[in-house]
């Protein structure tokens, strides 16, 4: 009996489901609190995201006229599922990944993209003009950051010679921190992560002063809550991925907490330091600079490995 229950608990409670959502909300609090402190404010209380979520779940859900009802309700769930599924392949808190196989890096990255895709579809589904512009911008941004971000994560994977996140973790743990060996990759990964999570200055898809709340303008109640949780889970996964790949991996929970907190501080500072980029500026930045640098670094790594093998 115990043996058969184990994967279920794995999926629903401990690293997979409930626990991850709660950690995600805690991360959101940390994010808001850090930004508030950088802005010389006090910031929210620790239970703020929990209260927000519970409140949203208890609220009336309005379905606007003229939307595809099933899509409207299903998309938040799909987004959250994508994020949670991605978490299964990633070793967190010093534990091994729930599931792991050769090539799970690619699967996890694709699962993370489900979120943006769902947001884009959700925006296109509703008739409001703000949501449509928000959706266009979200998808445009996705096409621009996805490639550099992937390239930045490929660097360590090639260095480690494997596509398995768990194995990369052990590889980075044994060698020097890759932030020293591949600094450009690290920068691209962090900035790409911010783009992926639509954090400022890359928050053009939900720019409040231009298009209200972007693609999610028409969502209220449960849908909004699910999208929020999904985004927070993505934040946890993204930070963990960068820590695993560039900051020397995770061997135990303490290491995990310290390293993620350090990275979090950097991300929050970057968030509050810049003015929002226009969507065309974002795209230009990624394709002209990000992708090119990522490619150059990748070439250098491949060449280095090749050279090493010849020498050996």
């Amino acid at each position: 009996m115990n043996l058969s229950l184990h994967p279920l608990i794995l999926l629903l409670v401990f690293p997979g489901g409930l626990f991850l959502m709660n950690i995600g909300l805690l991360y959101e609090w940390a994010d808001r609190k850090l930004v508030a402190r950088f802005q010389s404010r006090v910031g929210p209380r620790w239970f703020q995201p929990f209260a927000d979520t519970v409140k949203l779940l208890a609220k009336e859900e309005i379905i606007p006229n003229g939307v595809h009802k099933f899509m409207f309700q299903a998309l938040p769930i799909i987004a959250l599922t994508g994020a949670l599924t991605a978490a299964l392949y990633i070793p967190m808190f010093g534990f091994e990944a729930a599931f792991s196989f050769e090539g799970d890096l690619i699967v996890a990255l694709y699962m993370l993209s489900m979120m943006t895709l769902s947001i884009g579809l959700a925006g296109a589904n509703t008739l409001s003009r703000f949501t449509i512009i928000g959706a266009t911008r979200a998808l445009t941004q996705m096409f621009s950051y996805e490639a550099p971000f992937l390239l930045a994560l490929l660097g360590p994977a090639i260095a480690a010679g494997t596509w398995n996140i768990g194995k990369i973790n052990t590889f980075t743990g044994e060698n020097i921190w890759l932030i020293l060996a591949q600094p450009i990759g690290f920068i691209i990964a962090v900035v790409g992560l911010m783009g992926k999570l639509e954090l400022p200055p890359f928050d053009a898809p939900e720019a409040e002063t231009e298009i209200v709340a972007g693609a999610l303008t028409e969502y209220s109640g449960r849908g909004l809550a699910l999208f929020h949780i999904g985004k927070n889970v993505e934040l946890v996964i993204g930070l963990t991925l960068v820590v695993i790949f560039y900051l020397g991996g995770i061997a135990n929970p303490i290491e995990f907490i310290l390293k993620s907190a350090g990275l979090f501080l950097v991300v929050s500072a970057l968030q509050s330091m810049f003015a929002r980029l226009r969507i065309d500026q974002t795209v230009g930045l990624w394709w002209r600079l990000g992708a090119l640098m990522g490619l150059l670094q990748l070439l250098a790594i491949i060449f280095g490995r090749y050279l090493g093998e010849i020498l050996r």
């Binding site: 950088f38 500072a269 330091m273």
Partner: protein, 141 residues
């Protein structure tokens, strides 16, 4: 040309105390000249009605109880008042004043916004008269 000019400020803000006042939990002291709720002193009033005449938003009603003995009741509406202090400026006998401590006037019901100032027996007399059927409010001039 630089990127992240605000970095110094961020570090400074992070390591210093936030600029926030912990308001609802610790009370703040308002400046001396703050124009808060209007306070009326019935002892000094001679009933010149100037305050009523020049009030831009009809927030003051001076009700006469006994004109000869100079007994007046002021009905004041904080919800109409725009706190301009014109009445205080006009009053030659200093019977009007704007309190600098009574500015937390928020309320969940509108009843709180009808304030009677005056001697207690006068207010009771007026309210009683208003409650009687057939007789309307006392005339205000």
């Amino acid at each position: 040309m630089a990127i992240g000019v605000l970095f110094g400020d961020l570090v400074k803000a992070f390591f210093t105390k936030p600029a926030t006042q912990n308001y609802p939990f610790t009370k703040t002291i308002a400046p001396e000249r703050l124009r808060g709720k209007l306070v009326y002193d019935p002892e000094k009033c001679i009933g010149c009605m100037l305050c009523m005449k020049d009030c831009p938003s009809n927030a003051i009603e001076l009700l006469t109880v006994d004109k000869i003995n100079k007994r007046f009741v002021m009905r004041y509406h904080p919800d109409r008042c725009v706190f301009c202090a014109q009445c205080v400026q006009l009053c030659r006998f200093n019977c009007l004043n704007m309190s600098n401590s009574l500015w937390e006037m928020a309320s969940t019901s509108k009843e709180a916004f009808e304030v009677y100032y005056g001697r207690e027996e006068d207010i009771a007399f007026l309210l009683e008269r208003a409650a009687q059927p057939g007789i309307n409010e006392p005339p205000c001039e």
